[in-house]
Symmetry: C2
Subunit: 116 residues, 2 copies
Amino acid sequence: MFNHAKTRQQRSIPAIGEERAAEVADLFRLLGDTTRLRIVLACLEAPVSVSEIATRLDLSLSLVSHHLRLLRAAHIVRAERQGKQVFYSAADDHIRGLIADMVDHVSETRSEDEHV
Amino acid sequence: MFNHAKTRQQRSIPAIGEERAAEVADLFRLLGDTTRLRIVLACLEAPVSVSEIATRLDLSLSLVSHHLRLLRAAHIVRAERQGKQVFYSAADDHIRGLIADMVDHVSETRSEDEHV
DNA sequence: CGCATGATTGAACATTTGTTCAAAAGTTAT
DNA sequence: ATAACTTTTGAACAAATGTTCAATCATGCG
Protein backbone atom coordinates (compact mmCIF):
# COMPACT_ATOMS: atom_id res chain seq x y z
CA MET A 1 0.00 0.00 0.00
CA PHE A 2 1.94 2.92 -1.25
CA ASN A 3 -0.61 5.65 -1.34
CA HIS A 4 -3.22 6.78 1.13
CA ALA A 5 -4.61 9.75 -0.67
CA LYS A 6 -8.20 8.69 -0.33
CA THR A 7 -7.96 8.49 3.41
CA ARG A 8 -6.39 11.91 3.66
CA GLN A 9 -8.50 14.89 4.62
CA GLN A 10 -8.61 18.03 2.57
CA ARG A 11 -6.24 20.05 4.69
CA SER A 12 -3.80 17.47 5.90
CA ILE A 13 -0.02 17.56 5.49
CA PRO A 14 0.65 17.67 9.22
CA ALA A 15 3.34 20.30 9.54
CA ILE A 16 6.07 19.01 7.31
CA GLY A 17 8.15 21.14 9.53
CA GLU A 18 10.93 22.93 7.76
CA GLU A 19 13.45 20.23 8.67
CA ARG A 20 12.18 17.63 6.25
CA ALA A 21 11.44 20.28 3.67
CA ALA A 22 15.00 20.02 2.41
CA GLU A 23 14.85 16.24 2.14
CA VAL A 24 11.56 16.37 0.29
CA ALA A 25 12.90 19.03 -2.03
CA ASP A 26 15.91 16.85 -2.77
CA LEU A 27 13.60 14.09 -3.93
CA PHE A 28 11.63 16.43 -6.14
CA ARG A 29 14.78 17.92 -7.60
CA LEU A 30 16.07 14.51 -8.65
CA LEU A 31 12.94 13.93 -10.70
CA GLY A 32 13.11 17.49 -11.97
CA ASP A 33 15.65 16.88 -14.68
CA THR A 34 14.36 15.68 -18.03
CA THR A 35 17.18 13.27 -18.68
CA ARG A 36 17.00 11.81 -15.21
CA LEU A 37 13.23 11.48 -15.35
CA ARG A 38 13.45 9.66 -18.68
CA ILE A 39 15.92 7.27 -17.11
CA VAL A 40 13.54 6.61 -14.25
CA LEU A 41 10.71 6.06 -16.69
CA ALA A 42 12.84 3.52 -18.52
CA CYS A 43 13.33 1.63 -15.26
CA LEU A 44 9.67 1.70 -14.37
CA GLU A 45 8.29 -1.28 -16.25
CA ALA A 46 11.02 -3.84 -15.91
CA PRO A 47 14.68 -4.03 -14.90
CA VAL A 48 16.99 -2.69 -17.58
CA SER A 49 20.75 -2.65 -17.94
CA VAL A 50 22.72 0.55 -18.09
CA SER A 51 23.74 0.03 -21.69
CA GLU A 52 20.19 -0.64 -22.72
CA ILE A 53 19.03 2.59 -21.13
CA ALA A 54 21.80 4.45 -22.88
CA THR A 55 20.87 2.94 -26.21
CA ARG A 56 17.15 3.45 -25.90
CA LEU A 57 17.46 7.05 -24.77
CA ASP A 58 20.44 7.85 -26.96
CA LEU A 59 22.66 8.94 -24.09
CA SER A 60 26.26 8.29 -23.24
CA LEU A 61 27.01 5.39 -20.94
CA SER A 62 28.79 7.71 -18.57
CA LEU A 63 25.92 10.14 -18.30
CA VAL A 64 23.43 7.42 -17.55
CA SER A 65 25.66 5.98 -14.88
CA HIS A 66 26.14 9.35 -13.21
CA HIS A 67 22.41 9.89 -13.02
CA LEU A 68 21.74 6.38 -11.80
CA ARG A 69 24.15 6.92 -8.96
CA LEU A 70 22.10 9.87 -7.73
CA LEU A 71 18.82 8.02 -8.18
CA ARG A 72 20.19 5.02 -6.33
CA ALA A 73 21.41 7.14 -3.42
CA ALA A 74 17.91 8.55 -3.06
CA HIS A 75 16.33 5.11 -3.16
CA ILE A 76 14.43 5.94 -6.31
CA VAL A 77 15.93 3.01 -8.21
CA ARG A 78 17.45 -0.29 -7.16
CA ALA A 79 20.54 -1.89 -8.68
CA GLU A 80 21.07 -5.59 -9.17
CA ARG A 81 24.15 -7.09 -10.72
CA GLN A 82 23.85 -10.03 -13.09
CA GLY A 83 27.12 -10.99 -14.68
CA LYS A 84 28.78 -8.04 -16.28
CA GLN A 85 25.58 -6.11 -16.44
CA VAL A 86 23.79 -4.13 -13.79
CA PHE A 87 20.04 -3.98 -13.99
CA TYR A 88 18.11 -1.06 -12.58
CA SER A 89 14.48 -0.91 -11.61
CA ALA A 90 12.15 1.38 -9.71
CA ALA A 91 12.74 1.07 -5.99
CA ASP A 92 9.08 0.71 -5.11
CA ASP A 93 5.55 1.43 -6.25
CA HIS A 94 5.62 4.73 -4.43
CA ILE A 95 7.74 6.16 -7.19
CA ARG A 96 5.32 4.90 -9.80
CA GLY A 97 2.42 6.57 -8.02
CA LEU A 98 4.22 9.85 -7.63
CA ILE A 99 5.13 10.11 -11.26
CA ALA A 100 1.67 9.07 -12.38
CA ASP A 101 0.16 11.76 -10.16
CA MET A 102 2.42 14.40 -11.61
CA VAL A 103 1.48 13.33 -15.10
CA ASP A 104 -2.14 13.75 -14.12
CA HIS A 105 -1.44 17.24 -12.86
CA VAL A 106 0.23 18.21 -16.10
CA SER A 107 -2.70 16.85 -18.07
CA GLU A 108 -5.21 18.76 -15.97
CA THR A 109 -3.19 21.95 -16.16
CA ARG A 110 -3.10 21.61 -19.92
CA SER A 111 -6.82 21.17 -20.37
CA GLU A 112 -7.37 24.17 -18.08
CA ASP A 113 -5.17 26.31 -20.29
CA GLU A 114 -7.02 25.22 -23.38
CA HIS A 115 -10.45 26.55 -22.54
CA VAL A 116 -9.38 29.72 -20.82
CA MET B 1 -10.35 13.04 -5.47
CA PHE B 2 -6.93 13.98 -6.52
CA ASN B 3 -5.24 10.63 -6.28
CA HIS B 4 -6.14 7.32 -7.80
CA ALA B 5 -3.24 5.25 -6.63
CA LYS B 6 -5.34 2.50 -5.20
CA THR B 7 -7.12 1.94 -8.44
CA ARG B 8 -3.90 1.88 -10.41
CA GLN B 9 -2.41 -1.38 -11.47
CA GLN B 10 1.17 -2.32 -10.72
CA ARG B 11 2.54 -1.61 -14.16
CA SER B 12 0.58 1.38 -15.28
CA ILE B 13 1.97 4.74 -16.37
CA PRO B 14 0.85 4.31 -19.95
CA ALA B 15 3.85 5.44 -21.93
CA ILE B 16 4.40 8.96 -20.70
CA GLY B 17 6.02 9.29 -24.04
CA GLU B 18 9.15 11.36 -24.03
CA GLU B 19 7.24 14.45 -25.10
CA ARG B 20 5.54 15.10 -21.82
CA ALA B 21 8.59 13.99 -19.90
CA ALA B 22 9.96 17.52 -20.13
CA GLU B 23 6.75 19.06 -18.84
CA VAL B 24 6.54 16.65 -15.96
CA ALA B 25 10.17 17.28 -15.12
CA ASP B 26 9.51 21.01 -15.07
CA LEU B 27 6.84 20.50 -12.45
CA PHE B 28 9.11 18.37 -10.32
CA ARG B 29 11.95 20.82 -10.64
CA LEU B 30 9.82 23.67 -9.35
CA LEU B 31 9.14 21.75 -6.16
CA GLY B 32 12.76 20.69 -6.01
CA ASP B 33 14.10 23.85 -4.47
CA THR B 34 13.99 24.07 -0.70
CA THR B 35 13.03 27.72 -0.57
CA ARG B 36 10.35 27.31 -3.17
CA LEU B 37 8.94 24.23 -1.53
CA ARG B 38 8.75 26.01 1.82
CA ILE B 39 6.83 28.77 0.10
CA VAL B 40 4.39 26.27 -1.35
CA LEU B 41 4.00 24.67 2.06
CA ALA B 42 3.18 28.06 3.51
CA CYS B 43 0.41 28.46 0.94
CA LEU B 44 -1.01 25.03 1.55
CA GLU B 45 -3.29 25.57 4.52
CA ALA B 46 -4.78 28.94 3.84
CA PRO B 47 -4.20 31.97 1.58
CA VAL B 48 -1.27 34.08 2.72
CA SER B 49 0.06 37.41 1.58
CA VAL B 50 3.51 37.78 0.09
CA SER B 51 4.81 39.78 3.00
CA GLU B 52 3.52 37.24 5.49
CA ILE B 53 5.33 34.47 3.68
CA ALA B 54 8.50 36.52 3.66
CA THR B 55 8.21 37.21 7.37
CA ARG B 56 7.37 33.68 8.41
CA LEU B 57 10.14 32.12 6.35
CA ASP B 58 12.62 34.94 6.92
CA LEU B 59 13.09 35.68 3.24
CA SER B 60 13.29 38.89 1.27
CA LEU B 61 10.12 40.18 -0.32
CA SER B 62 11.81 40.12 -3.69
CA LEU B 63 12.90 36.53 -3.46
CA VAL B 64 9.48 35.34 -2.45
CA SER B 65 7.89 37.23 -5.30
CA HIS B 66 10.31 35.77 -7.82
CA HIS B 67 9.53 32.26 -6.71
CA LEU B 68 5.80 32.88 -6.62
CA ARG B 69 5.91 34.02 -10.20
CA LEU B 70 7.33 30.67 -11.27
CA LEU B 71 4.88 28.74 -9.12
CA ARG B 72 2.00 30.75 -10.49
CA ALA B 73 3.06 30.16 -14.08
CA ALA B 74 3.04 26.42 -13.42
CA HIS B 75 -0.40 26.55 -11.81
CA ILE B 76 0.96 25.35 -8.52
CA VAL B 77 -0.35 28.37 -6.66
CA ARG B 78 -3.14 30.86 -7.29
CA ALA B 79 -2.94 34.59 -6.72
CA GLU B 80 -5.77 36.78 -5.52
CA ARG B 81 -5.47 40.49 -4.93
CA GLN B 82 -7.17 42.07 -1.93
CA GLY B 83 -6.37 45.70 -1.55
CA LYS B 84 -2.64 46.26 -1.55
CA GLN B 85 -1.92 42.70 -0.68
CA VAL B 86 -1.84 39.65 -2.87
CA PHE B 87 -2.81 36.36 -1.30
CA TYR B 88 -1.45 33.10 -2.56
CA SER B 89 -2.86 29.63 -2.05
CA ALA B 90 -2.36 26.14 -3.45
CA ALA B 91 -3.90 25.87 -6.89
CA ASP B 92 -5.70 22.60 -6.15
CA ASP B 93 -5.73 19.52 -3.98
CA HIS B 94 -3.57 17.72 -6.46
CA ILE B 95 -0.59 19.65 -5.22
CA ARG B 96 -1.42 18.75 -1.66
CA GLY B 97 -1.55 15.08 -2.53
CA LEU B 98 1.68 15.14 -4.43
CA ILE B 99 3.62 16.73 -1.62
CA ALA B 100 2.06 14.48 0.97
CA ASP B 101 3.06 11.45 -1.08
CA MET B 102 6.61 12.64 -1.36
CA VAL B 103 6.76 13.21 2.36
CA ASP B 104 5.60 9.64 2.80
CA HIS B 105 8.34 8.40 0.54
CA VAL B 106 10.98 10.28 2.49
CA SER B 107 9.64 8.85 5.73
CA GLU B 108 9.70 5.32 4.39
CA THR B 109 13.15 5.74 2.94
CA ARG B 110 14.34 6.97 6.31
CA SER B 111 12.98 4.05 8.29
CA GLU B 112 14.49 1.69 5.72
CA ASP B 113 17.88 3.24 6.27
CA GLU B 114 17.55 2.93 10.01
CA HIS B 115 17.24 -0.82 10.30
CA VAL B 116 19.67 -1.72 7.57
C1' DC C 1 -1.83 65.26 -5.56
C1' DG C 2 1.85 63.37 -2.70
C1' DC C 3 3.16 59.80 0.26
C1' DA C 4 3.31 55.29 2.38
C1' DT C 5 2.80 50.40 1.98
C1' DG C 6 2.95 46.02 -0.63
C1' DA C 7 4.40 43.61 -4.63
C1' DT C 8 6.72 43.06 -8.97
C1' DT C 9 10.50 43.40 -12.23
C1' DG C 10 15.23 43.33 -14.39
C1' DA C 11 20.01 43.03 -14.35
C1' DA C 12 24.20 41.40 -12.10
C1' DC C 13 26.30 38.15 -9.29
C1' DA C 14 27.38 33.66 -7.15
C1' DT C 15 26.44 28.65 -7.07
C1' DT C 16 24.81 24.79 -8.41
C1' DT C 17 24.22 21.38 -11.69
C1' DG C 18 24.30 18.65 -16.09
C1' DT C 19 27.40 16.99 -19.46
C1' DT C 20 31.68 15.36 -21.51
C1' DC C 21 36.09 13.10 -21.77
C1' DA C 22 39.57 10.06 -20.33
C1' DA C 23 40.91 6.74 -17.03
C1' DA C 24 39.95 2.97 -13.81
C1' DA C 25 37.36 -0.89 -11.67
C1' DG C 26 34.71 -5.14 -11.87
C1' DT C 27 33.37 -9.36 -14.53
C1' DT C 28 33.81 -13.24 -17.67
C1' DA C 29 36.24 -15.95 -21.00
C1' DT C 30 40.29 -17.57 -23.57
C1' DA D 1 47.63 -13.34 -17.22
C1' DT D 2 45.73 -11.05 -21.12
C1' DA D 3 41.80 -9.45 -23.45
C1' DA D 4 37.03 -7.99 -24.26
C1' DC D 5 32.99 -6.04 -22.36
C1' DT D 6 30.15 -3.35 -19.01
C1' DT D 7 29.92 -0.05 -15.64
C1' DT D 8 31.78 3.33 -12.54
C1' DT D 9 34.45 7.33 -11.27
C1' DG D 10 36.81 12.03 -11.18
C1' DA D 11 38.04 16.28 -13.00
C1' DA D 12 37.02 20.00 -16.17
C1' DC D 13 33.87 22.56 -18.74
C1' DA D 14 29.43 24.75 -20.03
C1' DA D 15 24.96 26.00 -18.95
C1' DA D 16 21.14 26.78 -15.88
C1' DT D 17 19.49 28.55 -11.59
C1' DG D 18 18.84 30.93 -7.01
C1' DT D 19 19.74 35.16 -4.75
C1' DT D 20 20.51 40.10 -4.12
C1' DC D 21 20.01 44.98 -4.97
C1' DA D 22 17.89 48.90 -6.87
C1' DA D 23 14.22 50.62 -9.46
C1' DT D 24 9.39 50.46 -10.85
C1' DC D 25 4.49 49.51 -10.63
C1' DA D 26 0.08 49.19 -8.05
C1' DT D 27 -3.16 50.37 -4.41
C1' DG D 28 -5.04 53.04 -0.64
C1' DC D 29 -4.90 57.06 2.45
C1' DG D 30 -4.01 61.89 4.41
